[in-house]
């Protein structure tokens, strides 16, 4: 490392250190590209294709989330082909999935000028919500198959491998093995998949219940930072508190210990804090 490569992005020359992705390089010159499946703490899945850019000498567009910058590359982030690809990606996703809790997708649709209904009317991913445990809910109508949850469950964080993509083509979907409910699967309820889901397809049961009852109000939620008390690792917790009740627990994605990932105790083991029959009344 230490050596740098020089490339041009939209005609602007930029030097970046070796190993930098085109996406990062684009960020450095403030020609940022939109992303959906890319996540700062996960390997690039290359699946959504929202981040494609034009690379001189390459017939297809290239995914900037994973392509490593090389000396002399000429990258264009805003050509007609790039704009068309982004727009069509947004339109296709909007035609299958419910984007109400997907800010990145909605942003992409807006920025690219997507016509929401253009490819709608055919098959969609609309399906019953799967509520099979008390910790989190799977609402696959909102899934965009970004692979983030699979990666977080796999080698990128949890190494549990409880979920994977099953089926193919339009029927490809996230599955906990043979269509099983989560309690019958290998899931350990760390909720790291929930933490990285960009569309609300995976969502905490508490949040899901409150949203259904129209009680979830982002404006009333405050975040308190603390350290998890269950073991000695020292994971930083962000307690999302509404009306003096913890409604969700996360960890900062840039935290050096957790990288945003927690275990079942840290993420979901908070009920005792607000238990009505707590220690005081039992003692």
């Amino acid at each position: 490392m230490g050596t740098s490569v020089t490339l041009t992005i939209d005609g602007e020359e930029v030097s970046v250190s070796q190993g930098t992705t085109l996406r990062e390089a684009c960020d450095q010159v403030s020609h940022s590209v939109p992303t959906l499946c890319w996540h700062e703490n996960l390997s690039p899945a290359n699946a959504c294709r929202a981040c494609v850019v034009e690379l001189k000498g390459s017939r297809p567009l290239v995914a900037s989330c994973s392509r490593i910058a090389e000396d002399g590359m000429e990258v264009m982030t805003n050509t007609e082909r790039v704009r068309n690809a982004r727009k069509v990606v947004a339109e296709l996703l909007l035609s299958t999935s419910d984007a109400t809790l997907a800010p990145d997708l909605r942003h992409l649709a807006e920025e690219s000028g997507a016509q929401a209904g253009r490819f709608s009317g055919g098959a969609s991913w609309e399906q019953p919500v799967r509520v099979d445990n008390e910790l989190y809910v799977r609402d696959f109508s909102k899934c965009i198959l970004c692979y983030r949850c699979v990666e977080a469950c796999g080698t990128d964080a949890q190494n549990t491998f409880a979920i994977a993509v099953a089926g193919r083509g339009f029927n490809a979907h996230i599955d906990a093995g043979f269509g099983r409910d989560l309690p019958e699967s290998d899931c350990v309820y760390c909720g790291n998949c929930v933490a990285v889901c960009p569309t609300g397809a995976l969502i905490g049961k508490t949040e899901w219940d409150m949203r259904n009852q129209d009680q979830w109000d982002e404006n009333k939620i405050s975040v308190t930072e603390t350290v998890c008390s269950y073991c000695g690792v020292g994971c930083e917790l962000q307690l999302h508190v509404m009306d003096n009740k913890i409604v969700k627990v996360t960890s900062p994605m840039d935290h050096p210990i957790t990288h945003g990932m927690l275990c079942v105790k840290g993420r979901y083991g908070y009920e005792f804090v607000q238990s009505e029959d707590g220690l005081a009344s039992n003692s």
Partner: protein, 405 residues
């Protein structure tokens, strides 16, 4: 215009396709003996001089690929024969493997020697069960004569499980490794990081057969047929409205019309006898109208003038009564079923094309289809998604092919 027989054995050949005698009779024993005495760099130089290009569809210069694998750092290297023939209308590899499996296998052994691989895989389409038995018998023959084994190269057969996408080279690697056949992002290319992350040479069956006949003879012999740009012969698979459907071997540069009409080849258009269109290169290929068929040669420069390529060598012939909307709908269904589902443009795009076709709007929503097709070509991860809209786009560019019923 006559049929050539170089990749395919003479029709009157007496030896069994997997026999030791066949090795001698076809010159493959000589080919391997000659190659084994050459240095790897001499072998690669000869393959480069021959001008062989990959016959799987991409037409990448074979010698260049070999030298890339040879020079790639890594102690462990692999060679792979891609026999996952699944392109619509393509059955040339099947014919090659049924009639002369020792050819492609000899090419595989030579390739392994050239790039320094001690382990080879033959990845064969799962539906080709009978072909697989022939292939296995041929490997045994090579093992008996000492050309396959622990001291040379070990050859293992892996069977596909019915997915078109597994023929894509990196999806094929994932399949061999026991994973879902989802294509990998390139770069890194297989020449640097293929099977289990090692430099891997992957070639189509027909390409390896070309290597075998090249080393059974020499570069001059090899270049006796074909064009300056593309020496050698090509197997074409004729199907549809054609009097003599089947696999034929013709020199590159042969007029496409001759392939259809010559008495020894296609024997002229069947059905009404009037040509409507030819789908060249399979489902991932291009429609040519009758005039284009008259004016093109089976060579890359000639076909690129009409936006087409040879692809796998599949030629599906349609007479002038065939409703291409029906053909396009069937092809759309094929791609929708065969997309792996990994990337958005292909996963959802193939489904939307199918829906538009089934609802009868193929010719009225051309702008939507063109933009969708362009996005799939530009932004899909692999060749499946990138080529899935090609035939459709080529039909939209040739409105004369449309038939009203």
């Amino acid at each position: 215009m006559t049929e050539i027989r170089r990749l395919l054995p003479e029709t009157g050949i007496m030896s069994g396709p997997t026999s030791v005698e066949r090795l001698t009779e076809r010159g493959f024993e000589r080919a391997m003996a000659r190659a084994m005495l050459m240095t790897p760099s001499d072998i690669i130089a000869e393959v480069s001089q021959s001008g062989i290009k990959g016959r799987g569809g991409a037409a990448f210069p074979t010698g260049l690929k070999w030298s890339m694998v040879s020079q790639a750092p890594g102690a462990q290297k692999y060679v792979v024969m891609n026999a996952d023939e699944s392109e619509l209308g393509t059955f040339k590899d099947r014919v090659l493997l049924e009639q002369d499996p020792l050819g492609p296998l000899s090419g595989l052994v030579i390739a392994a020697h050239a790039v320094g691989a001690r382990k080879a895989f033959c990845y064969i389409r799962g539906e080709y069960r009978e072909v697989e038995q022939v292939l296995a018998a041929a490997i045994e023959t090579l093992r008996r004569v000492g050309l396959v084994g622990p001291d040379t190269v070990e050859v293992e057969i892996r069977r596909g499980a019915g997915a078109y996408i597994a023929g894509e080279e990196t999806a094929l690697f994932n399949s061999i490794e026991g994973m879902r056949p989802e294509p990998r992002v390139k770069p890194p290319f297989p020449t640097n990081k293929g099977l289990w992350g090692s430099p891997t040479l992957i070639q189509n069956v027909e390409t390896l057969a070309n290597v075998a006949v090249l080393f059974a003879h020499d570069v001059e012999w090899f270049k006796a047929y074909g064009t300056k740009d593309t020496p050698g012969t090509k197997l074409v698979a004729l199907s549809g409205h054609i009097h003599r459907p089947g696999v034929y071997e013709v020199p590159f540069g042969t007029p496409v019309a001759d392939i259809l009409n010559a008495p020894e080849l296609g024997g002229s258009v069947a059905g009404t006898g009037r040509l409507g269109a030819v789908l060249l290169g399979g489902a991932a290929g291009t429609f040519l109208n009758a005039a284009e068929v008259q004016n093109t040669l089976l060579d890359y420069p000639s076909l690129s003038k009409v936006g087409a390529s040879i692809g796998s060598g599949a030629m599906m012939v349609f007479d002038d009564t065939v409703d291409l909307t029906w053909v396009l709908t069937k092809m759309a269904r094929f791609f929708a079923e065969e997309s792996c589902g990994q990337c958005v443009p292909c996963r959802i795009g193939t489904r939307r094309i199918l829906e538009i076709a089934e609802s009868g709007n193929l010719w009225s929503r051309t702008q939507d289809l063109r933009e969708l097709g362009q996005a799939m070509r530009d932004a899909s991860i692999c060749g499946l998604g990138q080529t899935a809209p090609l035939a459709l786009l080529s039909a939209l560019d040739r409105p004369e092919l449309r038939h009203h019923d």
